[in-house]
């Protein structure tokens, strides 16, 4: 199968700087198709920037990125994205259903309305993330956890082959965090997942592999992570969490 031939994401020697010192330098990363990869690292370590380059929202200064063998901008239909801080204001007059449906807007200048199959796909995505009973609700009436599920539903409605999430659990409580990860584990049965988190300990119970990013990249199998690696990465003592090696 061609989709297993090329990796889901291939980052080659990528460097990037906003106006200032480099945020990313010589980053190499491969995400295999079907993999569940956790990307961790300190704040301002370049995690979100790397995601935006993989998504095609930013262009790298050097190096190249491909998604299923194509440049990110040509792979838009393969990409599903759940942002950390939604770019919209919470009180925008829009329902949950409209939000999820917006993933079905065709690329380009095609006018018209949503087709019945678009509505069906949106409905299925909402059912999968258990927000279907919120379909007619206003976005602003949702809790943090509900909003997060709606954003996952929106990403799924694009029918992506890879789901990219930036700190999906940063703004919700611990119990919901577990719920979201259980949901992601289910989704991983049929799609590649790339997830950014600052919480190595928590995600290591779910992901296949952890990549640690602090301007440049160090990759590890989850079992290899010990205090020394984390200390190198964060350049400070980090309280180790026991369940890291439980699995």
């Amino acid at each position: 199968m061609s989709q297993t031939a090329s990796p889901a994401v291939e980052v080659k020697d990528v460097g990037f700087a906003y106006d200032g010192p480099p945020v990313l330098q010589g980053v190499n990363l491969q995400v295999a198709a079907g993999e569940f990869l956790g990307l961790v690292g300190p704040n301002a370590g370049g995690k979100s920037t790397l995601l935006k380059i993989i998504l095609g929202l930013l262009r790298p200064d050097s190096g190249a990125v491909t998604v299923f063998g194509r440049p990110p901008r040509q792979a838009k239909s393969d990409l599903g994205y759940v942002p950390q801080y939604p770019a919209f204001s919470r009180d925008f007059p829009i329902t949950v259903e409209e939000t999820v449906l917006s993933a079905r807007i065709p690329a380009g200048l095609r006018p018209g309305r949503y087709r019945p199959q678009d509505r069906e796909i949106a409905r299925r995505s909402m059912a999968e993330t258990e927000v279907d009973d919120l379909a007619k609700r206003q976005l602003r009436t949702l809790s943090g956890g509900q909003l997060q599920r709606v954003l996952v539903a929106r990403a799924l409605a694009a029918e992506p082959r890879i789901l990219i999430l930036d700190e999906p659990t940063a703004n919700i409580d611990q119990r919901m965090e577990t719920d979201i990860f259980d949901l992601l584990r289910g989704l991983n049965q049929r799609m590649t997942i790339l997830l950014v988190s600052h919480d190595v300990a928590f995600i290591s119970g779910y992901v296949d592999r952890v990549a640690c990013l602090n301007r440049t990249l160090m990759c590890h199998e989850t079992a290899d992570i010990d205090g020394q690696v984390i200390q190198d990465l964060y350049d400070t003592d980090v309280r180790m969490v026991e369940h890291l090696h439980e699995h």
Binding site: T99, S102, I105, A107, R113, R154
Partner: protein
Amino acid sequence: MTDFLAALAEYGFLQNALAAGLLASLGCGVVGSYVVVKRIGYLAGGISHTVLGGMGIAFFLGLNPMGGALITALLAALLIGWVSLRWKEGEDTLIGALWAVGMAVGVLFISQTPGYNVNLMSYLFGNILMVTRDHVWLMGGLDVALIVTVVLFYRQFLAVCFDEEFARLRGVPVTFFYLLLLCMVAVTVVLLIQVVGLILVIALLTLPAAIARQYVHTLGRMMVLATLLGMLFTGLGLWLAYDFDLPAGAVIILLAGAAYLLSTLARGLRGKALA
């Protein structure tokens, strides 16, 4: 009220004024809803005030002021839009500069125009009682064009207003639709400016939509309610202006402003009661 209705039946100018007010409400209700949810009221204000410069220059050169207004409005919309996409930090300053410079240029050229001098006040507050039948048709045509555009691309405009980043990721040409939206604001402003004045245009673009937003929860419904509210304000304003012999534009703005204030206060009180 009966006096006003009798006069309305009798005088063509009053019929034109009412038709112009209702049609203006339609354009402003639709475009204004975008202006409010996208929070580009200041940007729309910048475009409409810049227009005075173009009108003044055209007037000075003996050309049709409407043509000058349209060119200036579109240029201002594209310039502001381009800057706000490329250089977000500079947007605020640029709008302020265009706003002031546009008005200064307008005032300067109008003052240097030989012969009959136009009344600047009529550009600011309009003169709805002087609207011609032709202009009413023109406004109707504009409304149709605006509504057709919005119906065709409702999804794309919604996506661009709601979440630019996600829209871009889905392949929606965000820059194109954003600039198209600003051009729609520009065209709305120009066609209404001679009728209702540039200050009233801004009031009608923002206040009815801002009130509507407090009561309905989708963009489409917001457009409908904003249009109806605009029609209520212009109709009521015309009637009051006629009965008490007051400037219509100012009365309409004060009605819209008072309604917005009352609605916001009522919501605040209700919110407190619930808390």
